[in-house]
């Protein structure tokens, strides 16, 4: 396993070009949250007004709906949700300058194409290890769609938040690559 690299947001084309599937990254800086309901609302708003609730240029969206923070916590448990559910909306966001998304599970071909076309990556965070991951979030505030509760858009600040490059601009897919090595039966 390779040594993790530290990266700070916002992301540039130069940073993205350096990322290959399997790279372990410690993310730092501002990251925004959005999942199913926020994506739908955000893209609807963009269609109607030409604006998004935050500027996605160079930014990262983390697919997460955290638990409420206990007293003394910045944020509750906060692991990634399954990414493919956002695939309907993701290519448009990359077109508008979004540089990365964080989730779990595989992406569909339109997203993989968008990553190549708009120079962006998909990071996988470890699914379900939400109590641990929340310790790498040092600030959280709701910035839009508060009415969506756990699905509201939050601005987070990461400190060494661990992710793996799952899809890069070169067409690689960490899940396909990894599974190939260990598959012993065909079905």
């Amino acid at each position: 396993m390779n040594e993790p690299k530290r990266i700070t947001t916002p992301l540039t084309d130069e940073i993205i070009q350096d990322l290959k599937i399997g790279d372990r990254i410690l993310l730092n800086g501002v990251v925004y949250t959005a999942r199913d309901a926020a994506h739908k609302k955000m893209l609807q708003e963009y269609e109607e007004t030409g604006k998004l609730p935050f500027d996605v240029k160079g930014q990262i969206i983390y697919y997460v709906g955290p638990t409420p923070a206990k007293p003394g916590q910045v944020i509750g448990s906060a692991g990634p949700t399954t990414a493919y559910r956002m695939d309907k909306y993701t290519p448009k966001l990359h077109e508008l300058g979004l540089k990365a998304t964080i989730g779990k599970g595989w992406r569909t071909p339109p997203v993989k194409e968008a990553l190549k076309k708009y120079k962006a990556v998909y990071f996988a965070a470890y699914g379900g290890v939400a109590a641990l991951l929340s310790k790498h979030i040092v600030h959280a505030e709701i910035i839009a769609y508060e009415e969506l509760g756990p699905e509201a858009i939050r601005k987070l600040v990461f400190k060494d938040f661990p992710v793996v490059v799952a899809n890069d601009i070169y067409g690689g897919d960490i899940f396909q690559e990894g599974q190939k090595k260990y598959r012993k039966i065909c079905i």
Binding site: M1, A37, V64, G65, P66, T67, P68, A69, K70, Q73, G76, S77, A78, G79, T81, T82, Y84, K104, G105, W106, A124, Y126, G127, G128, V129, A130, A131, L132, S134, K135, L148, G149, P150, E151, V164, I174, F175, E177, G178, Q179, K180, K181, Y182, R183, K184, I185, I187
Partner: protein, 281 residues
């Protein structure tokens, strides 16, 4: 008749919900620890260790193991010699879930209306409750906090009787492979075979309550469970789908009689947040 008071049920269920959300079942954690040695992938080993560490942190800090605190599902066996005093049991259970959600800092994860507004109900109710009347004077309450990611990858098929064992095997393994990284493996796989279209899925969910390694009493089914577990771990999915040996921790099958024309099969995928617990009152 034995009397059980609503308030007693409410407090017990509230504790059951919070306990389930913070503390993974010990048999599952034990099986995870055993699996590290079997895992050949370095990344897979590291993920299994991270999962165990997460369980330890959630438990020691009394926080949700996963941010998806799940759909509250109950299987309740009510002894026919029990009288519940001081409230309607469905209301009591929902009140307990509401209080556990608020006091336990659980995420509200249910949308009241599935199609139009999809507005969050705000308190994880209404819970899904399956009741069963049984002999005796006890109430047994089984609770699962069923996460959406693994539920989304679950499947049902109405196979033909001619498809037989081979058809079942192919359907189950395809479902597990397709679930892959989307559903947070290592899985426990609940399988319901027989019954009707709907009942097969209930059986699959119910199967998930069995302890890890506890085989079906019918030796033919027990053998099938072992074979499917072995085959699942040859698919290459591995911990969190990054590739490896440990795709499933266990496979559990429940069966029921079925129509002469049918072979219903349901596969309920359970992620590593295998939150199933039960109490008896």
């Amino acid at each position: 008749m034995r009397e059980i008071y609503a308030e007693q049920i409410k407090d017990a269920v509230k504790n059951l919900v919070m306990d389930t959300e913070y503390n993974l079942p010990e048999d599952f954690i034990g099986a995870l620890k055993d699996s590290i040695e079997k895992e050949e992938s370095e990344v897979g080993k590291e993920i299994l260790q991270t999962i165990i560490k997460n369980a330890e942190v959630a438990s020691s800090e009394q926080v949700a193991y996963c941010q998806d605190t799940g759909y509250p599902v109950f299987f309740i066996d009510i002894g026919q010699d029990v009288v519940i005093k001081g409230g309607n049991i469905t209301d009591i259970i929902n009140e307990a879930v509401k209080e556990a959600t608020k006091e336990g800092y659980l995420r509200a994860s249910l949308a009241y209306d599935p199609i139009f507004s999809r507005q969050n109900t705000g308190d994880n109710t209404p819970a899904l409750i399956y009741y069963n009347i049984v002999p005796g004077d006890k109430i047994r309450i089984k609770f699962a906090a069923k996460g959406g990611g693994s539920e989304n990858q679950s499947k049902q098929a109405m196979l033909k009787p001619a498809d037989g064992l081979e058809g079942i095997r192919e359907f189950v393994l395809k479902t597990i492979a397709n679930a892959g990284p989307n559903a947070c493996p290592p899985f426990t796989v609940g399988i319901g075979i027989g019954g009707t279209f709907d009942y097969s899925t209930v059986l699959a969910k119910k199967a998930l309550f069995r302890h890890i390694g506890e085989r079906h009493p019918d030796p033919r089914i027990a053998k099938l469970e072992k074979q499917l577990l072995e085959d699942a771990n040859k698919l290459g999915v591995g911990p969190l789908g990054f590739g490896g040996i440990i795709t499933a921790i266990d496979v559990k099958i429940e069966i029921a009689p079925c129509h002469i024309a049918s072979l219903p099969v349901a596969v309920n995928i359970q992620c590593h947040a295998a939150r199933h617990k039960e109490i008896e009152l």
